[in-house]
């Protein structure tokens, strides 16, 4: 990687970190504490932006999956798996913050409320995406199965949402927010989205490098002579 790229990259992460720090200050010093929930309510400022970014990551996986089915190029698969990994990470945060919320609101870590169930199913969908990959040996078949899965899983999201609507609900459907709270919430979107995008990009670069080295290793027509220091029997 050239130095200009490196500088941009460093600046990006520094900016993200600074915005995160600002967000934390805003959440704890500036925004009023919610009356009934107390301090625990502050987890909400993280919860919602992360949830939205989970969808963003799932959407990128979906688009990359369609791209793969269309063009059959490994780059699409690399992008799809990178954003799926970030989606699982973000969804874990959503689940955990949701559970913290639920624990303080209803005294239970887990309830089969529609929204918690929704997050759980979403999490399972994309965890499955990641765990099926290593069990398919052929790189092309792995990419193909993943792409089909990436498409179906994303289209599944609204179906999951509709299906959990049938469950009995105790979740608040809307929360009244003070103006400062709204401001803080909006501001929190900025660092969280930057973090999500940065993570996907970083993961994608790693994935690309991995794929390229694999391709060289198993491509007999490449000019590189396969390293065989032990002098095998071939």
């Amino acid at each position: 990687m050239n130095t200009v790229n490196k500088k941009v990259w460093t600046a990006y992460w520094l900016a993200t970190a600074a915005l995160f720090a600002a967000a934390v200050v805003m959440i704890f010093a500036w925004t009023p504490t919610e009356a009934t929930m107390g301090t625990v309510q502050k987890v909400f400022y993280l919860h919602l932006p992360v949830a939205i970014n989970t969808f963003l990551a799932c959407l990128i996986t979906f688009i990359a999956s369609i791209g793969y089915l269309w063009q059959r190029r490994q780059v699409w698969d690399d992008l799809a798996v990178s954003s799926a990994k970030v989606a699982v990470l973000l969804c874990s945060v959503v689940l955990l913050t949701g559970m913290i919320w639920g624990h303080s609101a209803w005294g239970q870590w887990w309830t089969w409320s529609p929204r918690l169930t929704f997050s759980l199913v979403l999490w399972l969908l994309y965890v499955a995406y990641l765990v099926i990959r290593p069990s398919i040996e052929s790189r092309q078949r792995r990419a193909l199965v993943s792409a089909v899965y990436g498409v179906v899983a994303f289209l599944d999201v609204p179906l999951v949402y509709l299906s959990v609507k049938l469950m009995p609900d105790i979740h608040p459907s809307s929360i009244g927010l003070a103006p400062e709270m709204k401001m803080t919430l909006l501001f929190c979107f900025l660092p969280v989205t930057m973090l999500a995008v940065g993570l996907i990009a970083a993961r994608y670069r790693l994935q690309r490098a991995e794929t390229l080295s694999m391709q060289q290793a198993d491509d007999p027509s490449s000019n590189m002579i396969a390293a065989n220091p032990a002098g095998g029997f071939t």
Partner: protein, 225 residues
């Protein structure tokens, strides 16, 4: 149109003839289903079992695992000796191959349900007589969506060597909405005695439509000899 239907029936009749001759799949799947019912019955114990509602959940577990085996087997028939390439060479639409496989899978799942359901109903003391048609409608709706997605992934995942368990991990998560909807509807139907509403059925049919259309579209892209 009639030509397409004839082709679909041809593909699926061939599958069922092979199954009737080898009797590999149905025997395996039926015994697996009954075993699942028995294991869960033993695990839940007499008190839980008598509550009645456990039966629908237990049945879903049996159908899911049995169904995945059906999908694997019907696709393995094509993978063996490259028969799928023979189908792909033929002057038929790729969609015909998908529809034929889907019907074969549904036929096998229906046979599985006919064996496993009575066992579960008896063992779990489930009062099916309260709404037998509602039960059939909900399960049929669930089966169509599940088989639609299963047929697609069986074609994507399958290769000649067995991929034990892989198809299940792929198909179960994406089938969860169907499980949630149908179990919720069962609870209302049998637990609370509400009649089967048009809304619930519409949701189920809409789900089936989404799964069928997506699978049919993607199937064409992924089919490889």
């Amino acid at each position: 149109m009639t030509r397409v239907l004839r082709e679909i029936m041809l593909v699926s009749a061939k599958d069922l003839r092979i199954e009737a001759r080898s009797r590999q799949t149905l025997g395996l799947v039926a015994v697996l289903g009954v075993l699942i019912v028995v294991v869960l019955g033993l695990g839940l114990g007499p008190q839980q079992v008598k509550s009645g509602m456990a039966a629908t959940a237990v049945l879903w577990v049996a159908y899911l695992f049995g169904g995945v085996l059906c999908f694997e087997k019907t696709m393995a028939v094509e993978r063996h000796d490259g028969a799928l390439a023979g189908l792909m060479l033929a002057p038929i639409d790729r969609g015909v191959i998908y529809a034929g496989k889907l019907i074969s899978n549904l036929a096998l799942m229906l046979a599985l349900a006919l064996i496993v359901t009575p066992v579960a109903v008896v063992m779990f003391g489930f009062d099916l007589s309260a709404a037998p048609l509602g039960f059939v409608a909900i399960m049929a709706g669930g089966f169509v969506g599940f088989a639609a997605i299963g047929t697609l992934f069986a074609a994507a995942v399958s290769s000649t060597q067995s991929q034990g368990g892989l198809l299940a991990v792929v198909v179960f998560p994406v089938s969860l909405p169907l499980v949630i909807v149908s179990t919720q509807m069962m609870m209302r139907l049998f637990g609370e005695g509400e009649p089967l509403g048009a809304v619930g059925l519409t949701v189920l049919i809409a789900f089936d439509a989404v799964y069928l259309v997506v699978s049919w579209l993607v199937f064409e892209l992924i089919l490889e000899p």
